[in-house]
Amino acid sequence: MRVPFEWLKDFLPLTVSPEAAAQKLTMAGLEVEALERTGEDVIFEVNVTPNRADCLSMVGIARELSAAYGLRLTLPEHDVVAETGELDFNVDILDTALCRRYAGRIVKNLTIGPSPDWMRNRLDKCGIRSINNVVDVTNYVLLELGHPLHAFDLDAIRGHRIRVGTPGMIRGAGAQVTFTTLDGVQRAVPGDALLIWDAEEPIALAGIMGGSATEVNGTTRDIFIESASFDPVSVRKAARTLGVKTESSYRFERGTDIRMLKKALDRAAFLMKKVADGMIYGKIDLYPKKYAPAGIRVRYEKVERVLGLRIPGEEISRSLGALGFTVEERGDAMTVTPPAYRTDVTRDADIMEELARSYGYDRIPAVLPEAVLGEEDRESFRKSTMERIGSALKESFLKSGFTEVINYSFMGVRDLEILGIAADDPRTRAVRIQNPLKVEDSLMRTALLPSLLRNVVHNVAHGTREFRLFETAKVFLDGHPACGGSPGNGRGGELLPDERKRLAAVSFREKTRALYPEDTPDFFVLKGVFEAVLDDLKITDCTFVRSHEPFLHPGQSADILLGGAKVGYIGALSPVVIERLAIKSQKPSLVVIEFDTEALLPFASRDVRYKPLPKYPPIERDTALMVDADLETAAVMSRLREYPSDLIEDTILFDVYQGRNIPEGKKSIAFTIRYRAADRTLRDEEIDSLHSSLVEYIREKTGGEVRS
């Protein structure tokens, strides 16, 4: 809200500089975000928090300064000295919960014209456009006292009658009402929105905006000024449904001062007489249930406990008094009654804030608490294992040259189409956002890969030829009873998606000239990084089988299985997908991996059993086996490892070769077997015979031939 400093001086004998006053307001909770100098004046941009509706006016701000500086507040002149006639008007409030007070006055024989300079000037500083002297007065009073008013053209009100009610109340349930507001828009009014009606038709959206039919214009002579109290929730709902937000609705939503209402009405009449030569007639004021302030009990001990300091009783009374509260001391507690404009103050915590605020946050000592250690529970162990997995993963990828990225948790339908994900794939079960900023960001990610591919496109487009990226984040799978992953042990878990932590990485490389050649295929580089993590976490039960992911190269991809269940995949991105992404690059190598990191948890082990260091030397034997080219190496190696002998310490693959000297359709697999006994030095002859039977075994199992 814009507050001209000069205007505040109408109500307070301020002698401090604008900067000092701004600082004072900021430290009282009314943050002055900016100071703007215009000619003689300084305008404060004050951030009024939603609880402080009472500060949405010049008087409201002045009132805070009067408390802070101990200065006397003078309200503007509003005495209606002369009333010319009676009011022949009928007002009915149909629901006193929606409208707790309705007052109005008639002013006749006005001369509509431009407002005087002083008024236009102040409205202008506050960012309000001048319309004519009558409308300007209502806006001026709104800014000055914070109470919204509305002026109707009296002649346009039919039947000398005002009714306050919803379409449902006036026309019966289900009534369809359309209404043209003074901005010329015809609006369909919801059945529960509060309207002001004359004898026949609606004439205003209560507290939001008047109608065009009763608008005050150049030909208006007589007006009816409305000053009323409308229910905040009702105004907010109607304004939101209709998509209108006005200075008036903004204040009603936050709560207005039911007592200021009459002052505002009289002030407006007073000013109209002054600036438009009007004749003020009598008023109407329907106020069925008088506002009765409720006292709040506050215990001194609690104040001390919550604020961490003891404020003397008389200082409490003085500072609350300065803010307009009345305090009654009663032994170890006090009863505090807030002023009518402080609708936000309803319980003892609110009083404590007022005390802390006027005492000054900076005067409250800073003390470190003495704390009791919290309880450890079963979940802590799970959490710390998960943290360990998280940091092992992150460290491993960082060390291997992968740079961490963080993407929005969004994706679009198009992302799934690019990947060729089928309609029955669980990854299509995405949480849909009702009000996304962009279509391509309208779903919550069910996979991390789409975001990483967006990163690839971006970086390639910016000329980066080689990079490795990874991300750890949650994916969201809808239609899944929340369990495991989400701490959905609270209420409503069935409404929430399953949130799972995943890791995805991409390695992108174009054929570039390099000083030192890197000849390991990227697939195996990435697989090695993943295996290093498994090793760190002592996970052994992991296997790789050929993958059928639609977006991967069918010959260069694998599903990652833990304990036999798929937890992710690794592979070269399919050239089809690369083409769909329109990555401008010559034969890029683009390898990706994505897996569920929470799925590692049950397989990770923190148990390490020490094995004594060997006392006796090993004997090693190398063998090369020629097998069918399509036989997977893992099958050969696992056959070797299953050979029953206590003397085999390790089985090491050191060469896989196809080409010269190897017949078409065959490949050579070379491995070393390291033999060792725990209790003696092995003899060559013994190992020779063991090794040849092992070779015989593997030859038979694989149908291979030993190469010499």
């Binding site: 009282a28 800073a366 970086n459 949650k474």
Partner: protein, 335 residues
């Protein structure tokens, strides 16, 4: 005679350029048919009384030659090794093979700096869902339906009951529902608001903190957060607490630090005020305690929250928040 022999030897030794040369000399002088050996053999032809003296002279010459040859050998060996190693020279000015480690995202790094400080103060780390019930995101945090406070946070809706969490504060409620006081935890994570410009992204990160026990006061809130800010930004950083409003805390505070870019002089980043807002905090509102079944007469506590992007932007002097989510390696590699 022997003098001549020595003279010749020394002359030839000087010419020896390799171990082969010295070996030749060894054979020539000390071999079975060598010149010195020949002298020894010829000793019998010398007068018996001169033999001992002459014999000693020959022997001295022999030792002299042996020693010289050996010395020469070791010098030659050294030289040979040297020249062989020199032949294996590489260009040491070539760059090393790049072992490029990846970089942690600046937000991750900032987040873990923050988490570390609180963990050292004995806070544990909690997590909560990012797709959250309206109940936890708003209602239990004392944001009633149709309350203007909801306007403070532009919300992404999934359904009438489900939203993308707009702050990490719902974890407070979930955390308290799970256990009785004392509680002391932080909850870092992603949050969402439908807003996008140079200072807003639709997703960003927050760290929430909560401490509840008997006798936890506003003084403690100040103590803990001052300690945190001094560890994060340096022990001499000025810290200012001022009143503010959050529906789930009362009293509420916003916390500023002296502008780290202009040292409080006033600059573009602090909008001339000399202060930067970095934290929101307050004493947990009794209505929140009532929602989780804590008795507000018995327990009190404080909660706080901060935006990680804001802190990272200040720390690294980044002026456009969107850079964090573009994931351009030219940006990420700078950290």
């Amino acid at each position: 005679m022997l003098e001549d022999l020595k003279e010749t030897f020394l002359h030839e030794l000087k010419a020896a350029r390799s171990l082969a040369d010295t070996n030749q000399l060894r054979v020539k002088y000390l071999g079975k048919k060598g010149l010195v050996t020949a002298q020894l053999k010829a000793l019998s032809s010398i007068a018996p009384e001169e033999r001992p003296a002459y014999g000693k002279e020959i022997n001295d010459l022999k030792v002299f030659i042996e020693q010289d040859l050996e010395a020469r050998d070791s010098r030659l060996k050294e030289e040979e090794l040297r020249s062989r190693l020199l032949a294996e020279s590489i260009d040491v000015t070539l760059p090393g093979k790049a072992v490029s480690h990846g970089r942690e995202h600046p937000l991750s790094r900032t987040l873990s700096d923050i988490v570390d400080i609180f963990v050292r103060m004995g806070f544990s780390v909690e997590e909560g869902p990012e797709v959250e019930l309206d109940y936890y995101n708003f209602e239990a945090l004392n944001f009633p339906l149709e309350h203007p406070a909801r306007d403070m946070q532009d919300t992404f809706f999934v359904s009438s009951e489900v939203v993308l969490r707009t702050h990490t504060s719902p974890v407070q409620v979930r955390g308290m529902e799970k256990r009785k006081p004392p509680v002391r935890f932080i909850a870092p994570g992603k949050v969402y608001r439908c807003d996008a410009d140079i200072t807003h992204t639709p997703m960003f990160h927050q760290v929430e903190g909560l401490m509840v026990d008997r006798d936890i006061s506003f003084s403690h809130l100040k103590g803990v957060l001052e300690a945190f800010l001094h560890r994060m930004f340096g022990p001499d950083t000025p810290v200012r607490f001022r009143p503010s409003f959050f529906p789930f805390t009362e009293p509420s505070a916003e916390i500023d630090i002296g502008c780290i870019l202009c040292s409080g002089e006033g600059c573009r980043v602090c909008k001339g005020s000399g202060w930067l807002e970095v934290l929101g905090a307050g004493m947990v509102h009794p209505a929140v305690f009532e929602h989780v079944g804590y008795d507000p007469e018995e327990y009190s506590g404080f909660a706080f929250g901060m935006g990680i992007e804001r802190i990272a932007m200040l720390k690294y002097a980044i002026d456009d928040i969107r850079l964090f989510y573009e994931n351009d390696t030219r940006f990420l590699k700078q950290f």
